[in-house]
């Protein structure tokens, strides 16, 4: 969606972008993509060989005809699948994601708490992995072929090899129970009340509300899931950043910068990392998707009420609207990330035009 073209036109990034047309086109393809996502999810879920009503009502109520009838009516389950899909789309246009068959609550409401919980972990993990990955990747590239490089290579490959679902419980057992240095499960200590919702990210909301104690508690609870999740992405980023940095280290412009007598640190930050920023950005986008996946396997252990748990429960309970909601949200996150990555491309690289 981006292209390089060399033309000596205006100077400032924002003057150069024919933003409106671009955004419109981008929106168009996004809408199509979302349509595809909803369709795929819908079809997949409709394939499920189970009865969502029986599943939702459970033993007792499933045998009460009045309740079953009310349910069928409420969720429009008596209609044909294409018809239901159309209704879903119509409601979607009005911002209505439907009502969970399982809980009877609006899917949008449920996602409103689940999504920020997961985003908070994923963002945390991205920040941690980027910080660690940049450091380790750059060191490894500079020490390539030497012992340090080999050690970092093994370490990052190990990070890519650990089954997260296994590590999660082991880490919790070790750091919370045995060592007592990690706080308990959940997003907050039971003694705390969640902050007033602004962003839904507890750490941010505590800060906005000027509550440092709450902030630190939220941060502490975030630490373990973030670390466990980021192990994989640290490995991913370290390997990748090493390669990207290596590539840049071998360029003439870095050699030229060194020939200018600039201090090593400045060469790395201003020239090398700057030069490697585009591929790094791309892989960060990929890492975000990996993290979203990872949460499914980790959230249960940390009693984290996030998207992963929600997705799992919806899928397992045949909660069609819930699954659709997850597909939608995840699709939107994907699009937003891609969009952000492309925008950042433009900021980081003057050669890139949004066309």
């Amino acid at each position: 969606m981006t292209s390089t073209a060399a033309s000596p036109t205006p100077t400032r990034p924002w003057q150069r972008w024919p933003l409106l047309g671009y955004v419109l086109r981008r929106l168009g393809t996004s809408v199509l993509l979302m349509l595809g996502v909803t369709m795929v999810t819908f079809v997949l879920t409709a394939l499920v060989p189970g009865d969502p009503i029986a599943a939702a009502l459970g033993e007792g109520a499933a045998s009460n005809p009045a309740t079953v009838a009310a349910y069928i009516e409420q969720h429009g389950l008596d209609k044909s699948i294409p018809e239901r899909y159309l209704i879903y789309l119509t409601n979607l246009l009005q911002g209505d994601l439907g009502t969970s068959i399982k809980t009877g609550r609006p899917v949008a409401t449920e996602l409103a708490t689940a999504v920020p919980a997961t985003i908070e972990v994923a963002l945390g993990a991205i920040i941690v992995s980027l910080a660690v990955g940049l450091t380790l990747g750059t060191i490894a590239a500079h020490r390539r072929g030497r012992a340090t490089d080999q050690v970092l290579r093994v370490v990052s490959l190990l990070g890519l090899s650990v089954p997260t679902f296994w590590l999660a419980i082991i880490a919790y057992h070790t750091f919370f129970l045995r060592l007592g240095i990690a706080p308990g499960a959940g997003r907050l200590d039971p003694a705390f009340t969640p902050p007033p919702t602004v962003t839904g990210l507890y750490t941010v909301d505590f800060l906005l509300g000027g509550d440092p104690v709450g902030f630190f508690d939220a941060l502490a609870h975030l630490a373990l899931p973030v670390l466990v999740l980021s192990l994989f992405t640290i490995g991913l980023l370290t390997r990748f950043i090493r390669a990207a940095v290596l590539e840049v280290l071998d360029t003439d412009y870095v050699r030229a910068a060194r020939a200018k007598g600039l201090p090593a640190r400045r060469v790395i930050v201003a020239y090398v990392l700057r030069g490697a920023s585009l591929p790094i950005l791309t892989v960060v986008g990929v890492a975000f998707g990996v993290l979203l996946s990872g949460t499914v396997l980790v959230e249960a252990v940390y009693a984290w009420p996030g998207l992963g748990t929600y997705a799992f429960n919806s899928a397992i309970n045949l909660d069609l609207p819930g699954v659709m909601g997850v597909g939608l949200v995840v699709g939107v996150i994907y699009l937003v990330i891609n969009f952000a990555v492309d925008l950042l491309y433009g900021v980081l690289d003057p050669r890139v035009r949004l066309a």
Partner: protein
Amino acid sequence: MSTVLDATDLTVEYRGHRTVRAVDGVSLTITAGEVLALVGESGCGKSSTARAVIGMEKPHSGEVQFRGRPVPPLGLRRRATDLTAMQMVFQDPNSSLNPRKRIGDQIADGVTAARARGLTSDTPEKWLGAVGLDPAMVSRYPHQFSGGQRQRIAIARALAAQPDLLVADEPISALDASSQAEVASMMRRLCLAAGAGMLFISHDLSVVRIMADRVAVMYRGKIVESGPTATVWTDPLHPYTKALLGAIPRPDGKGVLPAAPDAEAPAAWHEEMPEALDRS
């Protein structure tokens, strides 16, 4: 002599953020047994012309005729058998051979193409010998050769197809300075021996001088001067041709700095001089 290639009023455009007109109304004819050189600075549209001629690029307007029939763009369809009489040699020797295929097999493809047109062609070994390589090397892979050798193999493959027209896009610019002249003269020799015409593209006028019958000087998508090589070389008319020739430093040890144009592109270079075209 028979005309093998006749391109009239070729225009090539690249669409993108801004449309680039790379070739702007170029006309060329090549007869059998003739070497036409196309020279000009980097980015003036030489490669684009070559690509349009061979059919790799669909011209925006204008027409290319090979032996009197139009050349269709190279699409998803298989190329018509008689059009395999047009062959090309590319600038970059590293990418012109399939790295996963023995060079003998690659040359053999040329032989097959010639056979398909009912012609005879030598064996790959013979062709290797003809371009100055050891025939015993047929079963090697491209990476076992230096760039210069690879370029020779690419030439052998093109010639093995017994072409009537060889388009060579800077076939020697990637070569070591000391072997450029030699490869160029070999190409000329083999081409003429087969009675084929050649479109030879180069930015190096001193090479062109020794091997081309006619030369066309291109500037910013247009041909500004053309005619027999010796005429253009000794008596350039167009200011751009003059600047080009004047800027070549001579290895004579005299310490003479070549003349440098004042600005990057003087207005005079854009001038159209009909009298400079088709000189004799």
